[in-house]
């Protein structure tokens, strides 16, 4: 690789310029390092999660089992029982965070994450309808969540985002739609039988317990398709951050790009929620945390995704191993962590003398 690090610049501005054949790229060194460290951290915590449990497995045996070289018992525990859960946590975290990064960037608002614009609430309504009315479990619930999420996003888009409407309107509209769906959800729960309501409630908190490779595929395949698309669209997203006018003046097809970006982010939010339930605050917090580390302008989709994975696997480890009650749904931990973070964020913004948005 013919890389040149321009080292006369301040550390934050250091770039790696790669020029070879038809490829000519310039990458921020800090972003690369942060991305790599976060990815390594996520994988390390994931391996720890695979090792710990009611039957602790030594790390070395975990790695052997993953390589298909372990004994049958260890392989059953690590690969069949624990791996789907860990993979779902990794993938859901990445999908939610990437979706959040895109929406926050599109709305140019730190609160513009799928949690706040009604998408996850819509997914919940879809899932609840399947659990409580159609008496479905498993895959049908996931389908219900996807349908609910997509339907809500279409509704919010039609109500608020047409004619290149203000991003802020989208958030207000999303909050309105959220409230409406939230009350629908409560109504559904209120009328449900106790056992159904319990199943629904666990789903509503967001959990990665008892997941199978079907769930892994449910979130993994869309992620594998959408993430590359988002990386292609990311440059347009950075241009949209400069305002629709400047973006258009620089040759960005504004409406088409925004629709493609929103659609991609909806797919990620929908499938992630379908696989793990509406896990709170990962989509909101991960992009902010990643951006704080990279100190880069722009959406930073990949670092955000890596941070989302870290939050999810760490949250799941805390939920399983640290809290006194066994096997707490991961959503409780991420909500607690995310809530604390959001409070801090708001306090900080206010100290700086301006409200969010």
């Amino acid at each position: 690789m013919t890389g040149v690090v321009r080292s006369e610049r301040p550390a934050s501005a250091r770039r790696l310029v790669v020029r070879r054949g038809p490829v000519a790229l310039r990458l921020r060194v800090r972003t690369l390092v942060v991305g790599a460290v976060l990815t390594a951290t996520a994988i390390a915590i994931a391996v720890v999660n695979l090792a710990s449990g009611d039957f602790p497995v030594p790390l070395r045996d975990v790695l052997w089992a993953l390589a298909g070289q372990g004994d049958a018992g260890t392989e059953f525990i690590v690969v069949t029982l624990r791996l789907p859960r860990v993979l779902v946590a990794l993938l859901v975290g990445a999908a939610l965070a990437a979706s959040g990064a895109v929406f926050q960037s599109l709305t140019r608002n730190p609160l513009g994450s799928p949690d706040f614009i009604g998408l996850t609430t819509g997914a919940s309504t879809g899932a609840l309808l399947v659990i409580l009315i159609l008496d479905g479990r498993g895959l049908p619930v996931a389908v219900g969540a996807i349908v609910g999420c997509v339907a809500t996003s279409v509704a919010v888009y039609l109500l608020a985002f047409r004619h290149g409407a203000q991003a802020f309107r989208l958030i207000l509209m999303g909050i309105g739609v959220s409230a409406l769906l939230e009350s629908t959800n409560s109504f559904l729960l209120l009328r449900a039988r106790l056992s159904d309501a319990l199943a629904a409630q666990v789903w509503l908190i967001g959990s990665v317990g008892g997941r199978s490779f079907t769930d892994v595929a449910l979130v993994g395949i869309p992620l594998a398709v959408v993430l590359p698309v988002l990386l292609v669209l990311a440059r347009r997203l950075s241009m949209l951050n400069l305002g629709d006018e400047t973006a258009a003046l620089n040759g960005v097809p504004v409406e088409r790009s925004r629709a493609a970006l929103a659609l991609s982010a909806v797919v990620l939010a929908a499938t992630a929620t379908a696989a793990a339930g509406p896990v709170a605050f990962v989509a909101l917090a991960a992009p902010h945390l990643a951006a704080r580390l990279t100190r880069a302008p722009g959406p930073g989709i990949l670092p955000a995704a890596a941070m989302g994975s870290v939050l999810m696997v760490a949250g799941d480890w805390i939920a399983q191993r640290v809290l006194p009650a066994k096997d707490v749904p991961v959503g409780i931990v991420t909500a607690a962590l995310g809530g604390a973070y959001l409070t801090w964020l708001l306090a900080r913004e206010w100290r700086r003398g301006r409200a969010l948005g």
Binding site: R9, P10, S12, A13, V17, R19, P22, V23, A24, L25, R26, R108, V232, R235, S238, M239, N241, L242, G243, E245, T246, A248, L249, N250, G251, V252, P253, A291, R295, A296, P297, G298
Partner: protein
């Protein structure tokens, strides 16, 4: 020969409010065209329509003989660059990153920082004298510095046609002249420059071609010396004035009548005798 950029029969409107009807204008190639006119006469709207940011309700903007809407947005962005009136300043972006984004229309997914891109950005920052600001955050710059940074971003786009919407607003006199001098340099290097300006004397000094607008239509177009007369200024701005030769440049210089004399003209409006001399 047709001009590269011309507009024919434009109707410009925001939702219900029609700004201009049957507006036609030709931008002479290689000119420094300055559009003047009272507030809300449709200058900025015209400029945005020429840059294809706004779609005209009726009529067509032609670029190189074809309707501008027939091109890919990327192609247009390689021909026409525009400095908007008040661009959004994103947080946490340093000057060099912002200027680099002006290369968007020239880049490809895997070809984002070719030697051509790099030299275009460096050159744009050099002529706007923002190289020293490369690692500063845009939001912490002064108005004058920020305006030069935006200009650098537009220049990095390397377009033959440059549209500037009130590039001197919010700048003190020194910075105004700095920006205008830079525009004049760019014009001398062969670019077509179109700017909306408020100061008539600046307009007369720098423009090779003046487009005078009022209520959404072009009232006069031509070299400043031929266009600017007391009658025209009174007709367009409703201000009695004298027009003299600028002692520095010999271009027309508009000197508004004193407050008392302007009051007289308002009272004498019934009789169409213009008391302004030249």
């Amino acid at each position: 020969m047709d001009e590269r950029l011309r507009a024919e029969g434009l109707t410009l409107a925001y939702d219900e409010r029609v700004v201009a009807r049957d507006l036609s204008v030709r931008i002479a190639d290689g000119s420094f065209t300055v559009i003047v006119g009272p507030n809300a006469c449709g200058k900025s709207t015209l400029l945005k329509t020429l840059a294809r940011v706004l779609k005209p309700r009726a009529g067509t903007v032609h670029l190189d003989g074809e309707p501008i809407s027939s091109y890919a947005s990327r192609h247009v962005a390689r021909q026409i660059g525009m400095l908007p009136q008040s661009p959004v300043v994103p947080n946490g972006i340093v000057v060099e990153d912002l200027v680099s984004r002006g290369r968007f229309a020239h880049q490809r997914l895997l070809r984002q920082w070719s030697t051509v891109d790099e030299s275009a950005v460096v050159e744009a920052m050099r002529v706007t004298e923002v190289l020293d600001l490369a690692d500063r955050f845009v939001e912490e710059l002064s108005g004058g510095q920020r305006q030069r940074v935006w200009l650098a971003m537009v220049l990095a786009q390397q377009t033959g046609i440059l549209l500037l919407d009130e590039p001197t607003t919010f700048l003190d006199l020194a910075h105004q002249l700095e920006v205008l001098d830079l525009c004049a340099d760019l014009h001398e290097q062969g670019r077509t420059v179109v700017a909306v300006l408020h100061d008539l004397n600046h307009a007369c000094r720098y423009a090779t071609e003046l487009v005078v607008m009022r209520d959404g239509s072009v009232v006069a177009q031509g070299p400043p010396a031929e266009v600017i007369t007391p009658v025209l200024v009174e007709q367009v701005f409703g201000i009695a004035c004298r027009v003299m030769d600028d002692p520095e440049t010999g271009t027309p210089m508009v000197v508004p009548a004193s407050r008392s004399r302007r009051r007289e003209t308002v009272q004498a409006r019934a009789q169409p005798s213009l008391s302004a001399g030249s």
